[in-house]
């Protein structure tokens, strides 16, 4: 345990001091703050015309001003990049620089190295996200003057936790790539390629595959349209990006009632009111558990690979 802590603190201080991390943090921070500021302006005028609307504070994070996407979208977009940046050279750089064998010659278990590196990455992500959320919350409080309710704080906490685990997934994936590939450039490019594929191409592939399997046009019966949409959504959900977007969208927007396509019969008599937190959680429970499980699985694969790896000087 002492060995792991030594690795952990060393890695955290490396991360915090690295230019790579500072640049990413600055990008996300500035973009997020700017988006929040612009969104808060529109919330303020909206609030003046409709003062009894609920979950005002959460809108600081979910409102978009038209020009800029909302704060949560910035996190969803840049979060994976932070994870990748923190992990893509975690192992193979030490290998190529020859420091790994020197570290392992210390009285230190081998799993302490990978555990310490992973946890240090998670801690860095946590610090970054928490500080960002607090800054944005403070800015939001300053701009709209409405304090968050207990439920809003709970939803924000859930948002932060989900985001940490999601970014930890990309961190784990990057560490796995740094174990699999000897060259840092290869592991970086591989990880980014996978991110691009899962984030952007998955949407197109899902649409194309669903249309190929169940061809539909405007005149198709609703059952067919629903099956097509369900298939496309099912394919897209193979990507953790989709899972994260769905989970976060539901957690920070209490008004979201359902994620899939909906038949007209299902919305009869439906009153557009926000869901309770437990119901929102219930709705995205599969997404949340899948993200947690994926993160653990990716880390476990990297762990196993690292423990079995031959390390030569």
């Amino acid at each position: 345990m002492r060995g792991m802590l030594a690795v952990f603190w060393k890695e955290v201080s490396d991360h915090m001091g690295s230019r790579r991390f500072l640049i990413l943090f600055a990008i996300i921070g500035l973009a997020g703050l700017w988006a929040t500021y612009v969104a808060a302006q529109s919330i303020r005028s909206e609030l003046a015309s409709n003062p009894d609307s609920r979950f005002v504070f959460l809108r600081v994070f979910t409102s978009s001003s038209g020009l800029l996407p909302p704060f949560v979208s910035f996190i969803g977009f840049f979060g994976p990049l932070v994870g990748l940046a923190l992990g893509f050279d975690a192992i193979n750089r030490e290998m190529s620089e020859g420091t790994m064998s020197r570290v392992l010659s210390q009285p230190l278990y081998r799993d302490s190295v990978i555990n310490g590196k992973f946890l240090a990455g998670v801690a860095t992500i946590t610090v970054m996200l928490l500080s960002l959320i607090l800054i944005v919350s403070g800015l939001g409080l300053q701009l709209i003057g409405v304090p968050p309710t207990q439920e809003e704080m709970l939803r924000l906490l859930l948002f932060v936790m989900t985001s940490i685990i999601y970014i930890a997934f990309w961190l784990g994936l990057a560490i796995l790539f740094s174990i699999l590939f000897r060259r840092t450039a290869t592991s970086a490019l591989g990880a980014i390629a996978l991110w691009v594929f899962l984030s952007f191409f998955m949407v197109m592939i899902a649409g194309a595959a669903a249309d190929a399997a169940i061809p539909v046009n405007e005149g198709s019966p609703p059952e067919l349209l629903v099956r097509n949409a369900n298939l496309r959504q099912g394919i897209m959900r193979m990507s953790p990006t989709t899972l994260y977007d769905e989970a976060i969208g539901t957690i920070v927007s209490p008004g979201v009632r359902t994620l899939g396509p909906v038949l007209v019969q299902q919305v009869q008599g439906l009153i557009p009111t926000p869901l309770r937190l437990s119901q929102s959680l219930n709705l995205v429970w599969p997404q949340l558990t899948t993200i947690v499980a994926l993160t653990l699985v990716v880390f476990a694969i990297g762990y196993v690979r690292f423990m079995r790896q031959e390390i030569r000087a």
């Binding site: 081998r110 799993d111 008599g269 219930n282 558990t289 476990a300």
Partner: protein, 398 residues
């Protein structure tokens, strides 16, 4: 000489002619008779009640060329009658009438209390003081059994029978006329209305309660009798009498108020809460209350609901045969939303439909989705964590 004698003869003839003419037609010298009086009546025959005074205006006309002093007398009036000429305040026996003028006098006749029902004749005579010129006038006065204009108050209303729902007020517009000859104050009494009712008498066009009203002789005033049956008055017909009384003079108007039953039922929840919780695919029970807030019994109340497709809403009991006035009955409602319901709030309405009355209540149902898959998700995570722990144990500490 011849001419002279001719002229003299002509003049003589003319003078003779004038003389003859004057002798044959003396009227040419005086065109009117020197004196003449007439008695000119307004009416010659009237009918009165036994208690009434007969009053007649008679004009004494002088047709002569000189003013005349005329004595007036009633020739042998029927026995018991008090008959005389009078002005406004005093009796008359003679008048002076200027030439060509008329003088109005009033002839009064008061029958005896026991006057028989019959016609009585009065000969009125006008004669000049020197008894040279006179005129007579015969007037007939008939006595009727009932006095045509006795001391009496008359009450008239246009609608003596009015219906109203319980709780709403009704108004009888009554015109009171004092048909007597004296001014009187009438006491107004309402009888027959049930005690719980609100009763008031108001003058027409005035907002104040009165219990008496003053009427001058012959005057007519309107009063409004306002009755308000109490809210819970059972339906039925209620006779109400309205009496105006002043001494022995009184009149009663019989009115009828029909109270119609009100049919009104209300559906609500015992707690007043208008939302319910339900789990998709599971039956949940909520209590409903049906109250008869009308005054009449409501029969055959059946229940229905407006709900989204696929929902199942059952009422227990399904029907209420009779619900007496002011009765409250509890009904349990079983709500089942289909399995695939999207979580959140839904609007349903629960309706009760009885004869002549219905009520509906909108309820918001908050549907939660069952959490059975949540356990599966946790199970998967637990398995993964266990797997990771297993790997740690097998591969760690190397």
């Amino acid at each position: 000489m011849l001419l002279k004698s001719c002229l003299a003869r002509s003049l003589a003839l003319l003078a003779v002619g004038v003389l003859v003419t004057l002798m044959v037609f003396p009227a040419l010298a005086t065109a009117q008779p020197a004196r003449g009086i007439r008695l000119l009546p307004e009416f010659t025959s009237i009918v009165i009640g036994r208690e009434d005074d007969a009053r007649l205006t008679v004009r004494v006309a002088n047709t002569g060329k000189d003013g005349e002093f005329v004595d007036l007398e009633i020739v042998s009036p029927p026995s018991g009658w008090e008959a005389r000429f009078s002005d406004f305040s005093f009796g008359l026996r003679g008048v002076y009438v200027a030439a060509g003028k008329e003088q109005e006098v009033t002839f009064r006749a008061k029958p005896p209390a026991d006057a028989a029902v019959s016609d009585y004749t009065f000969d009125l005579k006008a004669i000049t003081r020197d008894k040279q010129v006179q005129d007579t006038l015969r007037i007939t006065i008939g006595i009727q059994a009932q006095g045509a204009t006795a001391e009496k108050v008359q009450m008239v209303t246009l609608y003596p029978e009015v219906s109203t729902p319980a709780g709403a007020s009704i108004q009888f517009n009554i015109d009171l006329t004092n048909q007597g000859r004296t001014d009187r104050t009438f006491e107004l009494v309402v009888k027959g209305a049930p005690q719980q009712w609100t009763t008031s008498v108001e003058p027409a066009f005035e907002k104040k309660q009165i219990s008496t009203i003053s009427l001058k002789a012959g005057e007519t005033k309107g009063v409004n009798l306002i009755l308000t049956p109490n809210e819970r008055q059972a339906p039925g017909d209620f006779p109400v009498s309205f009496t105006a009384r002043s001494g022995s003079v009184q009149e009663t108007l019989n009115l009828k108020v029909g109270v119609t039953g009100s049919y009104d039922i209300l559906v609500t929840t015992p707690t007043g809460r208008l939302n319910a919780d339900a789990v998709a695919g599971q039956e949940s029970v909520m209590a409903l209350v049906v109250a008869n807030i009308g005054t009449a019994e409501v029969k055959g109340i059946s229940f229905s609901s407006t709900k989204p497709d696929g929902w199942d809403i059952k009422f227990e009991p399904e029907k209420i045969d009779t619900l007496a006035a002011a009765e409250i009955r509890e009904v349990s409602v079983k709500i089942k939303a289909p399995d695939k319901t999207i979580a959140g709030d839904y609007a349903i309405s629960l309706n009760a439909l009885g004869q002549r009355s219905s009520s509906t209540k909108d309820i918001r149902v908050t549907v939660s989705t069952p959490t059975k898959w949540g356990a599966v998700g946790i199970g998967i995570v637990v398995v993964v964590v266990a797997g990771l722990a297993g790997i740690f144990v097998r591969l760690g500490r190397r």
